[in-house]
Amino acid sequence: MENLQSLLHGFTIAITVPHLTLMVIGVLLGILVGVLPGLGAPNGVSLLLPLTFGMQPVSAIILLSSMYWGALFGGSVTSILFNIPGEPSSVATTFDGYPMARDGRPTTALATAFGSAAFGALVGVILITFLASWVAQVALAFGPPEYFAVYFLAFASFVGMGGAAPIKTVVALAIGFAIAAIGIDTVSGSVRLTMGIDELVKGVSFVVAVMGLFGIGELLIAVEEEFQARAVSSRVDWKEVFRALGRLPRHGIALLRSAAIGCWMGITPGGPTAASFMSYGIAKRFSRNGARFGTGEAEGIVAPETADHAAGTSALLPMLSLGIPGSATAAVMMGGLMIWGLNPGPMLFVDQKDFVWGLIASMYVGNIVAVVLVLLTVPVFAALMRIPFAVIAPLIVIICVVGAYSVSNSYLDVVLMLGFGVVGYLFKKLHYPLAPLVLAIVIGDKAEDAFRQAMLMSKGSLGIFFANRLVTTLVLAAMALLLLPLALHVVRLLRKPDEAAHEKVRII
């Protein structure tokens, strides 16, 4: 219970007027950068970083981490309202969040997302509080073969679950892998697939791809269908915010399962993006309403959001205790730690007790501040849905263009984004699934690197994937997840061939 005492001490550091003020400022800034696609938490954090050098390290990290919470919440807003995921980790939120918002229930969608996100973050912080040293040990057990097994598991839980034609899924997946391979290859150092465009050496940014595929693609579909969002009632509906929150406990199992997946992926460096996809995939498979996923199911919002935040929070732990950042933002914060004269690593918890526990306590308080503030903004954001389509469409185009540009100040990215928009439209129109494509873009190259590193270690023997209990378990679990739907499908076909063939599934 030594941790509990340290935590209480931490609260006395975190709950002071100046620190609470910093949290509010941080969270509000975070929501802003989170909502604007292209700008993300890393932008905000790296901009605030120079300002924090004069501060006490604990005040500085409270400001920066609050901004991180704000950005995590803000990232879901555009995913739900406009189908534009501002952060990679909120792509899975679009699958059910956007249909629900289109259906005239943006308030419900946003409140559900924020509520479950807060729950996920809370579980993540509790994990950090009580299992910090144990978790650090677990993370050390992961070498290249284990990394590969984790990525394989993420793919296995997600691929093959959509209702798309299998060959179209395979093509989408392979295209994603190829796009992920563009640029410099870590293992060989050589330049790959730049197709004569020198600037492509930097690779294709994920944000550029999803803003085109989802944002512009969806816009084209909408204009073609002459879509009008179902009228949202004009008064600000506070009651619905609370009703949506009140309905969350009904998804208790999904909440717990998603939080567990999130924490697991945050610690084993799969990251928030893989976590949210995996959680969505597993929820769809095991939920009673699984078949209705993709049409605006609350559980389809709960699963990715909870996992995303649980992973985002627990990803800070490897950063503090090992010095490996679990996300881009964590990397910036780690740079900050060094400039403040603190060295992330196993000794941080011993040497800098005040700092570490002040930060952990501020995660509790900061998340509460963040969820309150963000819930207050729900009706405001929901009101955006009332702007007529004719006006909002060009604004979305501008947001996507500016967002794509600001990823790395590159005009090429803007052109690519528009190209991805056309591809997104075509794919959606012809029922090619976008989710496997996106997942492959995000973790495809990491999976490939891990595989090739493992092959270097074993000198080409696949036996390395069964060399110890951990990696064997992971690989077997992945294979089971991969084969399960196939087996079920065969069984169903044998029993009632007609019903199975006419099963209507939404393509995601």
Partner: protein, 330 residues
């Protein structure tokens, strides 16, 4: 504007330029962009932001300074961007020796000759690290064991500084390693702590926390003399307690990674001079010393002919190693 007035204008400009002292020959007229050829949080990014911070604090120029990250393709993104910005004196590129090393070993669309060198501002040292509980007490012990079995040595990136050094050790000690490339030094440090690799050659700052936390320890430093005395890292030892590799019978007396600053190509000598001067001013501040100390780097300032010589020497050396390994691009 007709020809006469153009002529008149340029004559006035010439006269004016003659009247103003040489040091003030060129001053920036719009915001300056610092391009870090690394992602946020990396060593190069930290340097760019530290310099930005010092310039802003001491108002070393009237124009605002903005840091932009272009770290894609192991930094190639930033250099390609610089090449495309030829003649633009408002882009300052922060990099490492990869400006001249990368074009040797991979087909990137730039070379260091496309850039105008300004300065090398700091040097990162390299050390040989093993896991805390490894049986080797000295580099000699380690190499003896390496002769018997093929060790796995990790490093950041492929055919980059870490692998070049690893191959140099192989040659100097007549052993064979399996080199495993990872994304960053921090990742490599964790792999060693977990026992997935046998050794690595990280910079001090990349493994400082791990050393303090007793998960790994340095065997020797690739430096002609011991590192400067600083505060103790562990309870009993500091950087100056680490022997040099030569002391331990590993004949690599010097290997360093410079942090370099560049302008795009085709800028005027006056413009380059302005930035050389600016960086000199930055280096004279107490904040700079603080930054150097906290990141465990070595202070240095190379510019002009000295920098050119340094680049040429390093280039020759890397070319030789790369040639032996068969890495050179055709």
């Amino acid at each position: 504007m007709n020809v006469t007035s153009k002529l008149l204008l340029s004559t006035t400009a010439l006269l004016l330029a003659g009247a103003i002292p040489a040091a003030a020959a060129w001053q920036p007229q719009k915001p300056i962009e610092f391009v870090a050829t690394a992602g946020p949080g990396g060593g190069t990014d930290n340097l760019a932001r530290a310099v930005q911070n010092i310039i802003t604090k001491y108002k070393l120029t009237d124009q605002p300074v903005v840091v932009v990250n272009k770290g894609g393709g192991s930094g190639a993104e930033g250099y390609v961007y610089a090449k495309a910005s030829a003649g633009d004196p408002y882009k300052v590129i922060f990099g490492t020796s990869n400006a001249w090393q990368q074009p040797l070993v991979s087909k990137v669309a730039f070379n260091y000759t496309d850039l105008t060198p300004i300065a090398a501002m700091a040097q990162d040292e390299f050390l040989l690290w093993v896991k805390q509980d490894a049986p080797y007490k000295t580099a000699g012990d380690f190499l003896k064991a390496a002769a018997a079995t093929e060790f796995k040595v990790g490093g950041a990136q492929s055919k980059d500084t870490d692998e070049v050094l690893t191959r140099m050790i192989e040659k100097a000690a007549r052993v064979k390693f399996t080199y495993i490339p990872f994304k960053s030094g921090a990742e490599v440090a964790v792999q060693l702590a977990g026992g997935h690799i046998d050794a690595h050659v990280n910079n001090p700052s990349e493994s400082l926390g791990q050393w303090r936390g007793s998960t790994q320890r340095p065997l020797c430093a690739f430096s002609p003399k011991r590192l400067p005395q600083g505060p103790k890292v562990t309870a009993t030892e500091g950087w100056s307690d680490v022997p040099t590799c030569v002391e331990q019978g590993l004949a690599i007396s010097q290997y360093e990674q410079p942090r370099t600053v560049w302008l795009p190509g085709k800028v005027s000598p006056e413009q380059a001079a302005f930035y050389v001067d600016l960086m000199k001013k930055v280096q004279a501040t107490p904040e700079w010393k603080d930054y150097i100390e906290k990141t465990s780097q070595v202070n240095t300032f190379l510019t002009g002919a000295a920098l050119d010589d340094f680049i040429k020497q390093d280039l020759e050396h890397v070319k030789q190693v790369a040639g032996e390994q068969g890495w050179l691009v055709k």
